[in-house]
Structures are given as C-alpha cells and as structure tokens.
Symmetry: C2
C-alpha cells in the first residue's frame, strides 16, 4: 500500500526523494514492470524533471528535464488525465529521440497525474513495459489511479511537513547564532560571527557585512569571509552602487539567482576580488528604523537561494543590529573611559615640568612592548590603563617639587618618591581597577631590588610595571624640559640597553629594542646590535647610568 | 475519500480536532449511520477519550473518558483488531450503563483501530446503527478497514506537522523576545523583559526571575510580574529551598503540574505573596557553565505545562544569560568609568584647601536636585559626570593660589577664574563628553549675568551648571577649611535662599530647599519656610551675599 509507505516515511522524517524512490520501487514491483519514472512538475515553467527513475536508464535520465507538454508524461501533466498507451512507438506524443538516446525500448506505458489537495498536478507517475503478457490493461490503470488517488495530497503534505521541519531547524540555528553573535561586546567579533552565521544559515560559499560609513557617503565591505576574504575587505561602494548598494538605498531585500542578468549588479566587486558571484541574497540591516548596512550571502552551495533564505537572513539582520548596537555602546563607553583617563592624565602632567604628552607616549611604547611580549587583549587593556595613570600620584606632590629645575633635596625627593604609592591609593575606591594598582605602585621598582617603594626584585615586579619603567625612562630622557633639551634617541636607547638586568628587565629591554628597530618608537626604522642575553649586568650606579637616570625621571 | 479530507485539511493548516470531525462526519454519511465516535487513546494510561462524537449523544459524550480496555472501543484499542458487533446489547464487552445514561439505543457497531506508522493504536473509529437493513456486514467492515488503513499514519503525520508548526511559531516568538531582551544594556530592563517573555512564551499567568546572590547564599525573586508582582519582589529563599531552589541547586529544569503533590514545593512563597500556584515550569539560567539563577513560569492559562514549554524556557534562558552578561559588563564598565572619574576628582581636590569629599557631595546634592526637577536618566547621567568633574580645571591653578588661606590678589583671582574654561578644554579630547563640557565651563555663571567666564544670564546657563552652582556654593560654605570652620547648614541655606534670582536660579533653589527639607542634604529632615516665587531678588552684592560667596567659593 503506497499510502503506508508515505505515511511511515514522513513519520520517520525521511526526505522527499527517498520516499518517492521507495514508492516508485514498490509500484514497479507490484505492477511487474521494466521501469518507472516519477516526474515532478515545476510549478512555474510546467517543465517535468525526471525526479526518480527506476530501470536500466536510471543513470542517463535522472535529473534531466522534459519541456512542458512534451512526451506522454508532459501530456498527462498538462491535461491532468491518466493514460494507458499500449504501444508507445505508435503514439504521436511519444519522444522517440529520448528513448533512442538512452537505448530503452519502450512498449506500453501507464501514466497517472499526481494531484495536490487543491487539484493542481504536482507530478506524473509513469510505469513502462509490463512484463506479463499482454501488457497494461484498463484494470491496471484503475488500480494505479486508486492507489495514487490521494498520493499528491500526501506528497504535498509531506513536503509541507518537511518544510516546517527545515524552517524549525533553521530557526533553531538562528537562535544559536543569534545568541553567539550577541554573546560578545567586541564589535569586530560581532561582525566576524555575523558573516559566519550568514554563510551557515543559508549554506553559502561566502558572506559579507556591508556597512554605511559614518557620514553615509560610502559602503564598506566590513568583513567578508570565504576564500577571498582579505581582498573583499578593502572594497567600498558608492551609495546605491551594486546590489548591496540598492539594498541599502531602498531598505529592501533581494534574492538574485543570476546576478549577470540583473541590471543593478556591479561587476566591480568581483573584478576587484577575483571572485565569481553566481547568485546572492542580500538583506538590509536596520537600527532604530534606519538602514545602516546589509548582510549578503554569495553562491548557494547547492541549488538556488529562495525566499526562505531571505527570511532567515532578515531574522539574522535583526539580531545583528542589536548586537552591533550593544557592541557600539560598549565600545563608546570604553573609549569615553580611556579618553577621560587620558585627558585627566594629560591635564595632570601639565603641572609637571614635562613638555606634555608624556603619559600618552609611555602608553604607546608600553603597548608596543606588551604586544611583542605576547600579552593578550585583557593584559594589554590593563597595561594601557596602568600606563595612562602611572603618574597620577603626582597630584599629591607639591608644585615646587614637581617644577623644581635643579636637583631635589632629601625632603623633596622623599615627597617625589611617594607618588607611586599615592597613585595606587587614589584608585583604591575603584573596584574594577584592582588589577592595575600593583603596576602603578611598582613602576619605579628596579629588577636589582634597588627601586622604590618596596624594593621588589625581578619577576616579583608586575610585568606592566617593568614595561612602564622602560617606556617611562626612555620618554623622560628624550623629552625636552624647560631647562634642558632631551637626549637624542640613540643615546637614550644605549642607556636603556646598559641598564638591562640592573634597572630594567632584560626581556622587556629586548622587546623595547625590537620596537625601536621596527620604527615603532621613533617613527623610523633603526639599526641596532642585539642585546646579549643576561647583558647589561653592570651596576646601575655607574656614571652614565646614574646620569641617565638623573636626567630621566626624578632628579635628586 | 478520507485520505483526501486529511491531506487537504493538513495542507490548509487545520487543527487536528477539526480534521477528525470532518473525517467522522464523512464516515457517518458514507456508511449511513446514526452516530459515530472518534476515540483517542492516551499513550500512557491507555484510557480512551471521546475526542469527537457525531449523533444525538454528542453533547453528553464529547470530552468524556472510557477507562482502558472497557467497552467495545476499549477492547478494539487493546487488541488492535477491528470488530463488527451485530447486537451490542448481547455483547459482554458492551457498556450498557453509559448507553442508558446518555439515552442512546445502540444496535450494531463497527469499530476499527487507527494505527500509527509504527503500528501502535492511536485511536478507534466507531460507527453505530447502520440505518439500512440489515445493518453492518463484513463488507462494511472491510471497506472501513480499507479506508482507514493508513489513517493513523496520516493522523500522526498531521500531528507531527502541526507540532512542527507550533514549534515554529514558538521559535519565531523566541527570536523576537530574545532580540527584545538583548536590545537593552540596562540590567533591570533585561530582567523585566525576561519575565514578560517567559509569560508570553508558555502562556502563563505569572513569571519570575530568581537570581543567586553574589555570595550564592540566598535566592532572590528579582522580578515577578503578574498580579502580585510587588509582593513577590521582596521574597528570598535559601539555596535549595522550594522548586526554584531545587532547580538552581541541581541545574536541572522541572515541569510540575500539581505543585502541592511535589515534596520539593515550598508554600512559603505563596503564603508570603497571597498567590496560589497550581503548576509551574522552572529552568536554570547558566552563565559560563555556572547556574546563576532560574526562570519560572506559573499557572498555565489553559491546560498543563509540557516538555515543549520547558524547552522554550530553556532556550529563553540561554538568551537571558547572554543579555544579563552584557548588561553586567556594561554596568561594571560604567561604574569603573564613574568611580575612576570620582577617584581622580577626589585626588585633585586634595591639592585644594578643601577638607575633601567636595566633588562627591556636590554630585550627591546635584543629583537630588536634578531628580526633583524631573530630569531623565540620560540628563541625570550627564549631570553626574559634570558634577564629579566640575573642578578638574583646578589642575591648572598653582598650589600657592589654591592653598592661599587669605584673600586672593587680582593676578591670583584671575588664575582661579580660569578653572572652568580649563576644565572644559581638558575634556575636549573626549568626544563622548561633549555634552558635559558646557556645564563645566558655566558652573560659575550667575543668573543675573554677573558670573564668569561668559557672563551668561538665566536660562542661557546650562541647567546642570545652575544646579552645580547651588550645590557647590552650599558645600563650600558648610565645609571646614584648615583656617576656618564651615558655616552651620541653616546659615548656608538662608544664604542660598537669599541669592535665588540673582546668583542662583530660583527653580533650582526651590528644588534644593525641598531636598534640604526632606533630609537629603543634611541627613535629617528640616523645617524651612517656602521660597517666594521670584523671591531673593536682592542684589547679590549685599553684605551677607558677598560674605557668603567669599567664604564659600573663591576668595578675592
């Protein structure tokens, strides 16, 4: 019983082609025929595809198309009437060319239309060459008609159910990717995950997130993973240019399955990237009612993009807009925090005898060294704040000490030496900055234990403090003061080298020298011999060392 | 054809009971019977429910239950075999009591089992009293069997499809609510939206979000909307107490459809809230692998909670964890920002002759006034930052001026007067603080236009600056200095009153006096006559005014 096959299969969640093949095999066996075909009718063109073929020509026929109305099956599909053909070769509708091509000698044919619940023909079931004499008769025709009477409705039902299952699976995936996209407040990570999600959701080869520039004057391919990700990353479009531009300008989605036939398509992106776009789906990303960009998926791995793909990306776009908004808010708040700290630090150093920009430069040098030492994002973030705020304790040092052009006397130097501790205690009320306080306290420690306030040695000094000590000293030596010019970079760098292992951490100095050579310190590449491992062990009390130090940070 | 009915119905998306009724009506008509019943078999108990009844007893029977194995239908369901009963009254299986009760005279019966694809009996189709003589025969039985052969599989198929559709609708809703929950970084708003979403998602009368306290020592009903929201809000549980406690302790979901029968259930919450919980579904909320709380939905509006409800809430919990994490991160960063600004402002004022805590108090008074004046959250946030940072420009004022105990000479006063502008320009690099800079610049303006630096009048002075001017003056007057004690609050407040309309904005002073009366300024409630509208018009150069001002802010 064919209905049982269908019902069982759908209960098992089998795919339609699998079910249709089982049905066809059953029919071929029950009616004892040489071959059979299940044609599916394209609802738009009316063309018939050889969806499932049983028999010797299966390999040659399956997947091929019979134009609308052609052959016996085409006639059955068009007229919606079953046919019994006792000798195909004498039937004027018979496509003998196809039969010859595949080398199958057709004798008699039974073909019945498969109708959906609403009556329209979904497909045709055709059986060929009944093995027993004298071939198909009217009784066979009635039997096949009875058996397939409600098949179409069931096939449609199964198709609907499977559609619902696919939609379900996709919504579940969307939930997952939405959660993943939203579970970071890092804007770049949001964009990366968006593209990955878009590709996965609609099974595409590549994806891009296209964002309007801040003044809405250009469209930027912000991320574009896939094979040619890097190239696409740099491409920008005029508003309205290309399909993505059209989507952003009109705030409407598009599904284009032959981009070359679409007048809105711009070849420029493909030319620039060397990619070949066949088809795409592109949906607008809106934030607070305003289109801010688009998500695009390119080249469906199998078949064509359809309206389900479009809807899935539209739902994704809603999630992405939220995640981008959150990441943007977090990012702006973080910027505000860092810039405010920097602004206050800059204001604070105006009191000092420095020429300004000190904490900004120390921060820059420190981050370069931190990166070369392989610090992770969180460590770099803490290093940044520590470097920005390292001297805030100077708020507790009197003007007359801070600004004294000559050497400091003992009392003045004692006051100056308190600034690392003062800085640490000023931030005591900020719970979230607990991690940076040790670095501020220790930025005047020396690896030989002769620094202050705690006389820590080597690795017991927080790495951030060891880094800042180098950056701070280098900047202090090379900066102009009202009463003297700064040292040349080369002299300062040699002084830093010399004090590796005594005042400074050797590994930090090596990284600083690497940054110097790479031009990250002075803005131009420099040649410099490498630092010996364990080098610079000379006592820090030596002439240049003391001189450098006195010229550099705090004059005693 | 019964299959056609089913297939068409499912294609139309009709609900199962509607479809079954149409099927039964068709069968009753085709076989010309007095009545018919479609029994559904409960998969767990084996009981049969009169799911759909056609005939005179419909009203009395529909919805009733036949215990497992009872009656002809019970026998058919249990044995899975069709039965033809020519005279029901002589059949020992016949439930005559039920027939008498409903007043239906049964003669002959045709009953066939409806099997699912996997063979198990889903239901029984029973037809009663064939109208034509001599009643049902074997041919009718075979015909009904043939017609219903794959009905069970189709019913199951339809049920699966409808399940998929329901699941689809729910996933779509989940997407929407997930997006809504994630589209705020305000933790309280996240919690509120979570509860709303939980209620909506599983169609419950009430919901709560239960969160573990920071030391994991108590469970707090953080939000609990529904009729008794306010009462529930204050209830806390011990870890492991009640069903919610069990869920949090075990990290596992529960569906309880009769809470009174569950030993884990704690009546305490109901007693405290005056609510009556019938049934609930409760799922854990996890963040980074750790259970941090639970989402609970109470009292399903129709029927019972099921595993679909549980799964929906579990998916919601994933979204909520992400949203709570994001809101928490944002909140902590905002705290870090504000506390850092406050720490630096406090450090800066250490240089000053103040006794400390000045900017913190000014911030507190200003926010109280801002709230009384009806400022929204964003305005209050800006006011807070403006108040914290209002004096940072003093970084540009020399120690000797700042700390001078006596009156300032002209040059010194000129330097002091530059601090509002200096403060404004120090923050120029912080793009996001653009909104607060005018308030910092203007906090020494006077509504009569005699302030500095710009001599702005009345409403042209930003409201934040008008508020801070009052708070700043009051705090300066009442604070001790190294060289003098602060004025009593009462004296200072009268001075503020007197300068309303000249130095200060009348509306701001009124709000400040309200805050003072309410005890928000001094910590104790104060009696104070109201300020006349337009009062305090006396020129600010008067004796006490000048005295107050000179004692208060900057001494000339």
């Amino acid at each position: 019983d064919l209905h049982g096959v269908l019902a069982t299969a759908s209960a098992r969640g089998e795919k339609l082609p699998v079910v249709l093949r089982r049905l066809l095999r059953r029919a071929v066996r029950v009616f004892a025929t040489d071959a059979g075909t299940f044609f599916m009718v394209d609802p738009e063109s009316g063309d018939l595809s050889f969806a499932v073929v049983e028999g010797p020509a299966r390999g040659k026929l399956e997947g091929r198309t019979l134009p609308a109305g052609e052959g016996i099956a085409g006639w059955v599909a068009r007229h919606g009437r079953a046919q019994l053909v006792r000798d195909a070769r004498r039937d004027p509708r018979w496509k003998s060319t196809l039969a010859r091509e595949v080398g199958f000698a057709t004798r008699d044919i039974l073909a019945v239309p498969i109708r959906a619940g609403r009556g329209q023909v979904l497909g045709v079931l055709e059986l060929l060459n009944k093995r027993t004499h004298p071939g198909f008769d009217e009784k066979d025709l009635r039997q096949l008609q009875a058996l397939t009477a409600s098949l179409g409705a069931m096939v449609e039902n199964l198709r609907l159910w499977q559609q619902a299952r696919r939609s379900n699976a996709r919504l579940q995936l969307l939930n997952q990717v939405g959660q993943l996209i939203n579970s970071t407040l890092d804007a770049a990570e949001v964009r990366r995950r968006t593209i990955e999600a878009a590709k996965q959701l609609v099974d595409a080869e590549a994806g891009s997130l296209i964002l309007l520039g801040p003044r809405r004057e250009r469209l930027y391919f912000e991320v574009a993973l896939g094979k040619r990700a890097e190239r696409l990353k740099s491409i920008s479009l005029k508003p309205g240019e290309g399909l993505a531009g059209w989507v952003v300008s009109h705030g409407r989605s598009v599904v284009v399955n032959d981009v070359r036939a679409d007048p809105r398509w711009s070849r420029r992106v493909d030319r620039r990237s060397g990619a070949t776009t066949r088809n795409l789906v592109c949906v607008p990303v809106r934030n607070r009612g305003r289109t801010v960009g688009a998500i695009q998926a390119l080249n469906k791995r199998q078949g064509h993009f359809d309206s389900d793909d479009r809807r899935a990306l539209e739902l994704l776009a809603g999630q992405v807009a939220v995640a981008m908004e959150n990441a943007g808010l977090y990012d702006r708040l973080q910027q505000t925090f860092l810039e405010s700290c920097q602004a206050l630090a800059s204001a604070i150093e105006l009191r000092d005898a420095y020429t300004g920009g000190h904490s900004r430069r120390v921060t820059r040098y420190s981050l370069q060294v931190g990166r070369l030492l392989g610090m992770d994002e969180q460590q770099l973030e803490n290093l940044r704040i520590t470097a920005i705020l390292h001297d805030i304790g100077k708020l507790g040092v009197d003007d007359r000490v801070l600004r004294k052009p000559g050497k400091l006397d003992a009392e003045e130097f004692a006051q100056m030496m308190r600034h690392p501790q003062l800085g640490e205690s000023m931030l005591a009320a900020v719970e979230q900055l607990a991690a940076i306080r040790p670095g501020i306290r220790a930025h005047h420690e020396r690896v030989d234990g002769r620094g202050y306030p705690d006389g820590l040695r080597g690795q017991r000094i927080p790495l951030a403090a060891r880094i800042i000590a180098v950056a701070d000293t280098y900047d202090a030596m090379t900066s102009d003061r009202p009463y003297r010019r700064g040292l040349p970079a080369r002299v300062a760098i040699n002084e830093i080298r010399r004090c590796a292992g005594s005042q400074f951490d050797g590994g930090v100095v090596r990284a600083f020298l690497d940054a110097y050579r790479a031009g990250e310190v002075t803005g131009r590449r420099e040649r410099l011999p490498p630092l010996r491992r364990g080098g610079g062990r000379a006592p820090a009390g030596g002439s240049l060392g003391a001189g450098g130090r006195s010229r550099g940070r705090h004059r005693r």
